[in-house]
């Protein structure tokens, strides 16, 4: 008797995207098993952000397929896609909190928008969720502009997990933070993803962060995955791209476009 392997939570096949003559994603293939935490690493301009935006439906790829739970999200209509997005959380690089709304409304924005809770119910709920990311009730009434970078990231994390998503995306979660705050955010991400039992998909160029968050690491270079393996194996991967990226050496197969 053969056991049937469950389909991956996210399956990407032949994903391509070009902006004019610049090819950003080049027939990229990637599987993300349910309940795992994958971190895609790569240099600036390697296609990480475009990849995550394609999966989220913010950019339409030129070719390829993206399946979530076995369903091709690229062929879905707007309403169906919104329903899929209802099970997705996203933490943006710059937090992307809504300036015009107080923190509590930011945290519960998705829940209110989907009419899951009323505005009256939202505030105590937001305070509960803020507590899960280590923020007190006093933060709820503040405006995002009154928060430090680390607090904004925590509020953004609270917003990402508020609807108890199946998949959470993290775009450079520690960028712009000091190493201690970066480690705190990483620990919160790991704890919350584990609590939700969610699949985590992160992109970063912070190696320390990648090792803290990831079960699996994938390296993207010039729009393709050039290595994928367990996070523990990243320092002795034997892959010249990964080795150069981990050591930060200027010598190796990765050539940055720098004019001298």
């Amino acid at each position: 008797m053969t056991s049937v392997e469950p389909p991956p939570k996210i399956r990407i096949r032949g994903l391509s995207k070009a902006f004019g003559p610049k090819v950003v994603l080049d027939k990229l293939d990637l599987d993300v098993p349910a309940g795992s935490s994958i971190v895609v690493i790569g240099g600036s301009g390697s296609g990480k952000s475009v990849l995550i935006k394609c999966i989220l439906g913010l950019i339409t790829p030129d070719a390829g397929t993206i399946e979530i739970d076995g369903r091709d999200v690229l062929s879905m209509g707007r309403a169906e896609r919104d329903a899929v997005n209802g099970h997705i959380g996203m933490l943006f690089q710059g937090a992307a909190l809504f300036d015009s709304l107080p923190v509590w409304e930011n945290v519960c924005f998705g829940l209110i928008a989907k009419r899951r809770i009323s505005r009256r119910e939202a505030k105590p709920r937001a305070v509960e969720i803020l507590a899960q990311v280590g923020l007190g009730a006093d933060v709820a009434e503040l405006s995002p502009s009154e928060l430090s970078g680390g607090m904004q990231k925590r509020v953004a994390l609270a917003r990402a997990i508020a609807a108890q998503p199946d998949i959470v995306f993290f775009d450079e979660p520690t960028t712009g933070l000091d190493p201690i705050m970066g480690a705190i955010i990483d620990d919160l991400i790991v704890a919350q993803v584990k609590r939700l039992g969610a699949t985590a998909f992160s992109i970063t160029h912070d190696m320390a962060s990648a090792q803290r968050i990831a079960d699996t690491v994938a390296m993207i270079h010039k729009g393709s995955i050039v290595w994928k393996g367990p996070a523990a194996a990243i320092r002795d991967s034997g892959n010249p791209y990964v080795d150069q990226f981990v050591t930060g050496s200027t010598e190796g197969p990765i050539r940055m476009e720098v004019r001298r």
Binding site: L56, N85, I88, A96, F98
Partner: protein, 261 residues
């Protein structure tokens, strides 16, 4: 020869760019209008925008209207005195204000105040990923950001113009009675005597169109801004300039529709 061809080519490229942008604006407007009639609706946001666009624009529109009415009375008097036609001042003031100056000046003032604010706010949301964040939170940015501003501006501009009409006529009355020594009753009689419904109505139609144009250009420029602070600045400038030009263009078109014989 090469330089001439290059010059002609650059004119052609510029023309194509303008046409492409015009096409994008039309598609954006059609999409926004489609979203206006499909749920979900955001009455809370609509109310907030009506307050922002209407109530908070009252002082600037009121001051513009009252001083325009005053200067119009003064200028008409000094001009008409040459033909001994001073009696027409009140009629000229009321017709000029209701047909042209009320809607156009209110439109231009609101374009400067609100068009710029809309473009800056939506543009900042675009370059800081807040619009993408809306999409990931299953909220359509066109419905959440664009529709409330379009509907609010279209509804509120006519209300502002009613206020501008009243204050403009009042400005003319103040100068006419207290400076030019017109009889107050006679001035008001001349004001009402030749005023027709279509004079006021055409101004209100203009105001609604101007409101739509101001919000449309602010939203369009903000929605498509890119490149950080510089991009947002450019979007703000483009929103005000394009809205102001379109106000003057549509002013002629609507005047032609109402009054051309």
């Amino acid at each position: 020869m090469g330089a001439v061809l290059g010059f002609i080519g650059s004119i052609g490229a510029g023309l194509f760019s303008v046409l492409a942008t015009a096409g994008q604006v039309v598609l954006f407007a059609v999409s926004a209008l489609g979203h206006c009639v499909r749920p979900p609706f955001y009455p809370r946001l609509l109310g907030r925008q009506m307050l922002e666009i209407g109530y908070f624009s009252l002082p600037v529109v009121a001051l513009t209207a009252i001083f325009s009415g005053m200067v119009l009375a003064l200028q008409s008097y000094t001009g008409f005195a040459r033909f001994s036609a001073e009696g027409a001042v009140a009629t000229v003031v009321v017709l000029s204000i209701t047909r042209e100056l009320g809607p156009v000046l209110a439109g231009l003032m609101v374009a400067g105040r609100i068009g710029a604010a809309i473009a800056a706010e939506i543009g900042t949301m675009r370059v800081t990923d807040q619009i993408d964040a809306l999409t990931t939170l299953s909220t359509n940015p066109m419905k959440y950001l664009v529709v409330p501003r379009l509907v609010a501006a279209t509804l509120v501009l006519p209300m502002l113009v009613v206020v501008a009409d009243i204050l403009g006529v009042m400005g003319g009355f103040i100068v006419g009675v207290f400076k030019l020594d017109f009889n107050a009753g006679a001035y008001m009689t001349r004001t009402w005597e030749f005023l027709k419904f279509e004079d006021v109505f055409s101004g209100l139609v203009k105001a609604a169109v101007f409101g739509f144009v101001i919000a449309l250009m602010g939203c369009f420029q903000g929605y498509h801004s890119k490149g950080g602070a510089q991009g947002v600045g450019a979007a703000t400038t483009n929103a005000v300039v394009s809205a102001s030009i379109l106000i003057l263009v549509f002013n002629y078109v609507i005047t032609e529709l109402f009054f051309a014989r």
